[in-house]
């Protein structure tokens, strides 16, 4: 302690010798603070002694600029009791604030402001650096807390606390959440209350949403020059242009199938020739459809034949019907009759293929005892 006092005195003396008193005051205050911290648990007597010592030094520092005529020792004695109580109050304040740190930061209470105001009142009585140092210590703590509170402040408006919102909502419509033992007042109350709840909410909400739709129109929103438009283009030319556009896909379709189509056509014609030869040979006996199309040696050839014959029937060169055994037969259409009202184009042009599995084909070959294809291979 003595050392300290000595060093303090040195500091004070150093301060005095230096030209700027401003520098010395903080430095002595710094020492004071240190002393304060260390002596926290020390005996009162020592404290008093130290205090009076340092005080006399610093006050002489303070007053070095012209007020030296006031007796410093006189001032000290009067304030000592009071100063101690101020220090005590400051420490108490700092302690409580630190204890309630979490509460102060996390809740929206005014406790920090209240503590600051309390400190302000205390500061009115402060006359010495020592107490002032405690005040600034408290201020550091308070600003720390302030900073933390600021960090917690919800600056992005996206955050939405549902529970808090519900609470506010119930308070707003006059339902008290707390009154109910169960935590679900809406389910407990009858429909009327629920209805009035939504009505109240709706009334409030509608005032926030501007619902009035404006008048929408198109007429009159066009620029004037569009109304006085250029003389109409030649309609015919336009139609032509459209047709040109339309031609494209038709062309494409033809191109796509042409190769295929030709081969099919040739084959259909060849088979038609075979059929007509048969009809000429036996003009009155229709040919069994299956006997005609089925190639006992080739299933795929059979399927192809069925496909080609469908074209012959579609184009009206032959007719398919069921005979008395309900088996399909192919009949010639009388070409002479076709001329008079029996115009093939007048028939509903229908085209169909039958489904035929490999097993069906084998069965038919066996049942009809087909040993030879009527439609001979062209290659």
């Amino acid at each position: 302690m003595a050392d300290e006092n000595g060093s303090l005195r040195e500091a004070g003396a150093g301060g005095k010798t230096r030209a700027q008193a401003v520098v010395t005051i903080p430095s002595s205050a710094y020492f004071l603070k240190q002393v304060e911290e260390e002596e926290e648990v020390e005996a009162l007597k020592v404290e008093v002694a130290a205090a009076s010592d340092t005080e006399s030094d610093t006050s002489s520092d303070d007053l070095s600029c012209g007020k030296a005529d006031i007796d410093p020792s006189l001032l000290e004695r009067v304030d000592e009791e009071k100063c101690r109580s101020i220090r005590k109050q400051y420490r108490q304040l700092i302690y409580t604030v630190q204890q309630n740190r979490d509460d102060i930061v996390n809740t929206a209470s005014d406790s920090l402001t209240e503590a600051l105001e309390e400190a302000n009142v205390l500061f009115d009585a402060v006359s010495r650096t020592r107490e002032a140092a405690l005040d600034s210590q408290f201020l550091v703590l308070a600003s720390d807390l302030g900073k933390e509170k600021a960090k917690h402040l919800n600056s992005d408006m996206n955050f939405f606390n549902q529970v808090a919102f519900c609470d506010f909502l119930f308070i707003f419509v006059g339902l008290n959440w707390m009154e109910d033992d169960e935590r679900d007042p809406l389910n407990n109350c009858d429909d009327n209350i629920a209805l009035s709840f939504w009505e109240t909410v709706q009334k409030e909400a509608t005032s926030c949403i501007s619902q009035a739709e404006t008048f929408h129109f198109l007429f009159g929103s066009f620029k004037p020059e569009s109304a006085a438009r250029k003389p109409r283009r030649n309609h015919r030319r336009k139609v032509q242009k459209m047709e040109e556009n339309g031609v494209m896909p038709t062309k494409l379709r033809k191109l796509d199938l042409s190769g295929n189509q030709e081969a099919t056509e040739k084959e259909v014609e060849r088979i038609l020739g075979l059929l007509q030869t048969y009809f000429r040979k036996y003009p009155d006996t229709p040919v069994s459809y299956f006997e005609f199309v089925i190639d006992p040696n080739s299933f795929s050839r059979t399927v192809e034949n069925i496909f080609y014959v469908s074209f012959i029937i579609r184009d009206g060169f032959a007719r398919i019907r069921l005979d008395q055994d309900r088996l399909p037969i192919l009949e010639p259409i009388n070409i002479n009759l076709a001329g008079e009202g029996n115009d093939p184009s007048f028939h509903s042009r229908k085209q169909g293929v039958i489904s035929l599995s490999l097993q069906d084909w084998k069965n038919i070959v066996a049942a009809f005892e087909i040993s030879e294809a009527m439609i001979t291979n062209s290659y």
């Binding site: 009035a212 739709e213 404006t214 008048f215 929408h216 129109f217 198109l218 007429f219 009159g220 929103s221 066009f222 620029k223 004037p224 569009s226 109304a227 438009r229 109409r232 309609h235 336009k238 459209m242 556009n245």
Partner: protein, 266 residues
């Protein structure tokens, strides 16, 4: 449209609410309009005697007259449902600024309108409309954006899209009637029966007169062998059924999934 015997009625809150709601929807079918009217009476004045819909609308129109706005009644061109739309009647400096659409969007609509009017069927394919996007006035528009804009016009009930082709919505026909007649005097088509503007309908293959589908339905309602009212030649098209609100109500539920396929005769 309305006779000049119309007296200036007094608008009540019922009328105002009705007008506001019609403004929100832009266009409504008759059954919805009736429901709306009932609703407005219920909200504001349960005891008031309910005006007949026609008088009710005339009252509103008498007030709107000075603003060059009118509630017009029309009929959808395809199936003849009665519709009501709030339309603007005048081109003013204010109306030019108050549009919902940007300059290039309006120009796209104008071009689509032109294609629809010039077409024989009353339909313009989306491909043909999109091909005109490069010639639009105002800000450049990409084809993709133009597709969105067309969809916007469909949503706002100015256009109808069917199988990739666009035609005018009844609302647009009601509102653009005057514009179309003035701008395309030699391309505009008129129904031989009701004499009003025709966009899509049937036409006589001999003399070329055109008729709205609903007009065709009504005109040939009782005749088993329809003949053209102009040249008396055989009417070659399928005669659609007359719109029946009663029947409509019954089938209303299933309507959306079995809409009659579009008739493409002309």
């Amino acid at each position: 449209m309305q006779g000049n015997t119309r007296r200036t009625g007094v608008m009540t809150d019922v009328h105002r609410r009705f007008l506001q709601l019609l403004m929100t929807h832009g266009v409504l079918e008759e059954c919805d309009v009736k429901r709306l009217q009932k609703h407005c009476y219920k909200v504001h004045d349960c005891n008031a005697t309910v005006e007949k819909l026609e008088d009710f609308i005339n009252t509103i129109n008498s007030v709107l007259e000075s603003l060059y706005i009118e509630i017009k009644k029309g009929v959808t061109e395809d199936d003849g449902r009665p519709i009501y739309a709030l339309v603007n009647l005048a081109t003013t400096s204010v109306s030019k600024m108050a549009s919902d659409f940007a300059e290039n969007e309006l120009d796209l609509f104008r071009k689509a309108l032109e294609l629809i009017i010039d077409s024989d069927t009353g339909f313009a394919s989306s491909t043909n409309i999109l091909n005109l996007v490069d010639q639009l006035k105002g800000k450049k528009m990409r084809k993709k954006e133009a597709e969105h804009v067309l969809q916007k016009f469909v949503q706002n009930k100015w256009l109808i899209e069917k199988e990739g082709e666009f035609t005018l919505h009844g609302r647009a026909i009601l509102e653009m009637d005057q514009y179309i007649r003035e701008t395309y005097p030699d391309a505009v088509k008129v129904c031989n029966i009701c004499r009003s503007l025709l966009i899509q309908g049937q036409s006589c293959e001999t003399c070329g007169i055109r008729m709205h589908l609903p007009c065709v339905a009504k005109y040939f309602q009782s005749s088993s062998e329809p003949h053209c009212p102009h040249c008396n030649d055989y009417w070659p098209h399928e005669v659609p059924e007359v719109f029946d609100p009663e029947k409509e109500r019954e089938t209303g539920m299933s309507r959306s999934n079995k809409r009659p396929s579009r008739s493409r005769q002309h």
